[in-house]
């Protein structure tokens, strides 16, 4: 990247592409050409910068200027002002929400200050479709060193010493997993990368694959050497076309450079990587289900043991790690296990990537050291709650996790503390909720997901979760009783204890954690027939406030079911027996004369 005076990095992640970042690249290139700057400035399409809320993002190097919410039409101004005249385009700079000042350098943005980027080290820096850029940032050095001077046993030991634990959710020590697979005897072993990121609201793995695919390929080859496998498979969701495309390009380039394939670095070690596509089944994130899916069958889990490390793909020992886990591996070898272990906490080493989403100001992808508190993540990095509303809960761990509340805000983020608090790390989805979210409905939402995604093999999960969902439905309709709440709790525990795989064992977590932390809301639904968030339709009524109604007839004219009556300039009344609670009247009323009770 040395020969150009300026580099313009444009985010080419899925989110920014949806906001026309491709057109920004084209228009920037046109402007650069027209201004005769082709030898001075280069436009690079990179992976995700993380700050999705403000996308599309264009970053100009060497001065680190960070332009936000750029439109294709802004391209001309960026080139003319910044590149030609050397002046920053002020109006596109990020405005600090507190000081209201424009921030030029991304290093000074609250969003980035608390972050340490290990797994995301190259995302937003390199062109993921160009292997030379990855190599210029140390890709494949770790693989070279491992092949040149380490035995498989030593390789496993480095990972063990680093303290790295599986980033897919469970937190199993990665080094130990490698060692078990290494010790299994077989003529063929496999390395599998789990890229079936199914948690709704999580996009960590996708961003890594889109932004830095070589990190994962290199780590898989290192793993292959460590466990004695010559074949790697990446199981990726078909819903991620961009990640698939970039992986294919990366594999081809690595093969061409001799960094994958036969006799890598002249060491005599062969390693090849193939892609396998998922087809939309959440349960396939579970490793045994994933393996069945790769074999071309229904993705139903099987009982463990035998663990895949002993008997996995096609009956052979198979090491399954998630994308983010792999992305950490090359750095551990380059910087040393001790360095990695010095980051984070006693029980959880290194960093964790989170997809911050929901009712939060700075939606995006972040990476923080383990031990960072939820408060730091939500209020400092995340910039607090949208529209100045009150924080209510944060959901971690997806459908297997739970909702944490105000009292957990100072909990350091670690595998074990999150479990103690009634949630879990999960793969890294972090959804923030505000006062308008009804926690009973949120629990129902997750159950809705689990019921649909349950593979149906074991009855506690197949039938039990359906029953839980029905009970939650009754509660949100205001038909629940105290007995319903009792049954809800008992059945949740039964499902947790008796389901076959992780999906069923964790499916009741959203119910249990909301019952623990928001018990009074469940009581209100059952005893008071009231939903304080105003989101359970059956429990709310739209009524007209007599003092405010001027009789303009706007509500009556727009009501789709004609349930509002009243003469012109007279007080109007809503017939509650007919009202479908669509909220149109409230939207149309200009006098704030309609309220929800």
């Amino acid at each position: 990247m040395a020969n150009y005076k300026y580099h313009l990095l444009v985010c080419g992640g899925t989110g920014c592409k949806a906001s026309e970042s491709d057109r920004i690249v084209n228009m920037l290139n046109n402007e650069i050409r027209e201004n005769g700057l082709s030898s001075d400035a280069k436009v690079v399409t990179t992976g995700c910068f993380g700050f999705c809320e403000k996308g599309p993002i264009v970053k100009v190097l060497p001065d680190n200027t960070f332009y936000t919410r750029v439109t294709p039409e802004d391209s001309k101004e960026i080139v003319m002002e910044h590149l030609v005249k050397g002046r920053r385009v002020e109006r596109l700079l990020y405005v600090d929400p507190e000081t209201k000042k424009h921030i030029t350098d991304s290093k000074h943005m609250g969003f980035y200050q608390k972050q340490i980027r290990i797994a995301l080290r190259n995302c937003g820096f390199i062109d993921p479709e160009n292997i030379d850029e990855a190599i210029s940032r140390d890709a494949y050095i770790a693989l070279g060193n491992v092949l040149a001077g380490m035995t498989p046993e030593e390789t496993c030991n480095v990972v063990k010493e680093s303290g790295l634990r599986g980033r897919g959710g469970g937190g199993f020590p990665t080094g130990l997993k490698w060692e078990i697979t290494r010790k299994s005897q077989a003529d063929q072993k496999y390395v599998v990368c789990n890229a079936d990121e199914g948690d709704p609201g999580a996009f960590m793995d996708r961003s890594i694959l889109e932004g830095d695919p070589h990190a994962v390929l290199e780590a898989m080859a290192i793993c292959g050497w460590a466990i004695g496998a010559t074949k790697g498979l990446i199981y990726i969701r078909a819903e991620y076309p961009l990640a698939i495309k970039r992986l294919k390009i990366a594999i081809d380039q690595a093969m061409e450079y001799g960094l994958l394939g036969k006799d890598i670095f002249g060491s005599g070690f062969d390693f090849e990587i193939e892609l396998r596509y998922g087809a939309g089944a959440f349960v396939c994130g579970e490793e045994t289900a994933l393996i069945h899916s790769m074999e071309g069958s229904r993705g139903e889990p099987t009982f463990k043991p035998p663990f895949p490390s002993v008997e996995g793909y096609l009956g052979k020992p198979t090491n399954v790690n998630n994308v983010e886990t792999f992305a950490n591996i090359p750095v551990i070898f380059n910087k040393g296990a001790k360095w990695f272990a010095s980051i984070g906490t006693e029980r959880s080493k290194g960093t964790k990537v989170f997809a911050l989403a929901g009712k939060i100001n700075n939606v995006g992808l972040i990476e923080v050291p383990m031990g960072t508190t939820l408060r730091e993540v939500i209020f400092e990095i995340g910039g607090g709650i949208k529209d100045g509303k009150a924080f209510k809960a944060v959901q971690t761990g997806g459908p297997s996790g739970g909702c944490l509340t105000q009292k957990h805000l100072d909990t350091p983020i670690e595998y074990d503390t999150l479990i103690e608090a009634g949630s879990m790390m999960g793969s890294g989805g972090m959804i923030v909720m505000d006062e308008d979210d009804c926690m009973v409905s949120v629990a129902k939402y997750y159950l809705d997901f689990t019921v649909e995604e349950s593979c149906g093999k074991c009855s506690p999960c197949r039938i039990g979760n359906k029953r839980l969902h029905e009970m939650l439905e009754t509660i949100t309709k205001g038909e629940g009783t105290m007995e319903t709440l009792d049954k809800l709790k008992t059945l949740s525990h039964v499902i947790k204890d008796t389901s076959l795989c992780g999906l069923g064992q964790t499916a009741p977590n959203p119910v249990l954690s909301t019952m623990d932390n928001f018990w009074e809301e469940y009581l209100e639904h059952v005893e008071g027939h009231k939903c304080r968030a105003g989101s359970c339709k059956s429990l709310m009524q739209y009524i007209i406030i007599p003092e405010n109604c001027v009789g303009c007839t706007a509500c009556a004219r727009n009501c789709p079911v004609n349930c509002i009556s009243g003469e012109r300039k007279q007080l109007h009344v809503i017939d509650q027996t007919v009202c479908i609670k669509c909220g149109t009247c409230m939207e149309k009323c200009k006098f704030n004369a309609i309220e929800i009770v």
């Binding site: 989110g15 199914g198 609201g201 087809a279 939309g280 997809a355 959804i431």
Partner: protein, 162 residues
């Protein structure tokens, strides 16, 4: 199985055979084969599954089992402009349900159905990963972000003429 009956043409059968062959007719590649075949035909009716079964030498029951297990595979043809509403958690808390209701109302169909003229079909999907743009709607290949129920009419209007 599906009530839709299709008669496959010779060249359709040849195409399926070709796809199966490109994976060496390996039963283990069933899911990859189905992806390719669905990409070709848009959906996987029973008749297509029969040809795949014959070529990969696996039972039709197994293929039906796989097709119905994974949400990506469908036995019903999609509309010319498939509308997908993201109902991932981020979109859910930012109002995806209301957007979905509006699409149902405007199109007059339920989730999983197509309009009688075959122009639009409506599905829900789980997280496209563009959570910064929530709530998100996809029409064909195009992604629309930060959608409010009021935007629905305008989005559909873009596809009015074709």
């Amino acid at each position: 199985m599906s009530s839709i009956k299709v008669k496959l043409k010779e060249k359709d059968i040849a195409k399926i055979q070709e796809i199966c062959k490109s994976f060496d007719n390996k039963p283990g590649d069933l899911i990859n084969v189905l992806h390719k075949v669905q990409g070709e035909f848009g959906y996987l009716p029973a008749e297509v599954q029969e040809v795949v079964a014959e070529n990969l030498n696996v039972s039709l029951a197994k293929i039906y089992g796989v097709v119905t297990f994974y949400s990506f595979f469908t036995m019903i043809p999609k509309g010319k402009h498939p509308v997908s509403i993201c109902t991932g958690t981020a979109c859910y808390v930012r109002g995806a349900e209301k957007v979905l209701e509006e699409f149902k109302k405007e199109l007059g169909i339920k989730v999983g159905e197509s309009t009688p003229d075959g122009k639009f079909s409506l599905t829900c999907l789980r997280c496209v990963g563009a959570c910064g743009l929530a709530p998100v709607v996809q029409v064909g290949e195009k992604t629309y972000g930060r959608i409010a129920p009021d935007d629905v009419k305008n989005i559909l209007a873009e596809y009015e003429d074709n």
